[in-house]
Homo-oligomer: 321 residues x 2
Amino acid sequence: MPPMLCLQKAAVLQMMSDMQNTAAGFDLRGYLKQQQERINRRLAALLDCNRIQTRLCAAMKHCLMAPGKRLRPVLCIAAAEAVTEIADETVLEAGCAIEMIHAYSLIHDDLPAMDNDVLRRGQPTCHVKFDEATAILAGDALLTLAFQTLAGCARFQETNTCLILEAVSLITRCAGYEGMVEGQMQDMAAEGQSLGLDPLKQMHALKTGALISASVSCGALLSGADEQQKTALLSYAENIGLAFQVTDDILNVKGNPERMGKAAGTDQARAKSTYPALMGLERAGEYAKDLVGNALQSIGIFGNTAAPLAAIATYIIERDR
Amino acid sequence: MPPMLCLQKAAVLQMMSDMQNTAAGFDLRGYLKQQQERINRRLAALLDCNRIQTRLCAAMKHCLMAPGKRLRPVLCIAAAEAVTEIADETVLEAGCAIEMIHAYSLIHDDLPAMDNDVLRRGQPTCHVKFDEATAILAGDALLTLAFQTLAGCARFQETNTCLILEAVSLITRCAGYEGMVEGQMQDMAAEGQSLGLDPLKQMHALKTGALISASVSCGALLSGADEQQKTALLSYAENIGLAFQVTDDILNVKGNPERMGKAAGTDQARAKSTYPALMGLERAGEYAKDLVGNALQSIGIFGNTAAPLAAIATYIIERDR
């Protein structure tokens, strides 16, 4: 290897190692707790369940307010913080809108016509707790509320309405027929079939990756990131999105159902293609680590303001649920 | 009655009669054909089915491009024309977005867990033609595409981004948990129960009225209507929305299934509360006529530019499907 390339490679490795240290020194538990509380308060206010006490709102609340990691809004906020050190109200609101889209997708994915799941986040799924029609409509209403929430950002003084419309555009592209919804179609079509590694990655890039990318990119967009910063954050998002899915598959094999709040071993029972099934459990674990390494490298340009993002990337493969 | 009130009443009746004449002299058939072609071309382009040939897009196309009256986008355009004589690209785009929301709501309403309908617009419903999971996802994707379409309006030169966000806000309020989705919940809950006239009206105001109001109000908003014009158009929309539903119920009793493209007599078979059942067929017909009279009266302030709106109001109770 020519000396110049050696130096470049050494610099990149140094950057990754720096970000690893940054992540290790960061109080992620405290940060997550603080952000999750902020997000949960805002979600409850946006849902407005105290004013409206219909069965529909009860179903929306059951799903949206169930204990969750709030990974997507946290990523949206952390991405904005990497760029500008603080995340304003618009960023929080956009993160909450994406969480609503995530919640609607879980309700519809759990339906009898799809994955037919009965347990989610340690609670009965929406169609079990309520009924199938209510679950379909609660999902529809949450998806609609997500865009109501984004449009509502126009009320903030600091708001650039062009950026909000760009955020709507970005989120719809990631969540719709070229993104998450198509990913679920591909997941349904793959059931009972043996999928190769590339089609599996493509399916996950759409099904879960697209909305994770939307979360990070939305934070970047709304905080006025430049093109280099946007590219770095998108690369981070794509890597952790895949790492998240690989880890989910690993947890499905060896996880503790009580900690996870859902059943384990279900993928194997359904003959689903998974990373552990295709690569072996050990190599799947290494693959997830490599992906997180790539993610850390991507955000090296931000330095300390990216500490939350770096710590989240590390957490993704170390979590037990 | 004091002479002043008599004069006011006479003026109002004169205005209504003027609008009736305006409607009678208007070539609605030609107008609808022209607008429907324009709307269908735009919907096909927005759906982008030539580029993307997935099963999901085929299902979305099956439902969105099925022959339909395109009442909602036509109303959006006609409302804008009442205000400014012409409807620009943003108004057309907003109308198409509302048609996508209408199409998604039909797909989900037809599902086995809801109305379990097999025929719609003369074609098999989405879950019959494809499958239940695909139908749920095609609905989700159409709802998402509606907001992608609205956000895309930012590319038009004439665009006021604040107004587009206001349109998103308006549409989501009418389509979501306080509007159309709640209306479908109430409709499901009412099945097999005998509903009084007021709860029936309230349910329809949400289930079908809200999106019709959104169509008209969106056209008004995007064409820069003032408060008086907005109020007049909203009153028009609320009256024709209810007239539309009353006529739907009447057609369900005495309509021709082949012309309607769906089965007749289904409401009675399901013991659904309807206007003919509650008021008698004849009085229901008179009620629809009164509502259209109110609608015509509301838009008297516009004069000739409201000719399309006036003709549509008259058409709503004269149609046979």
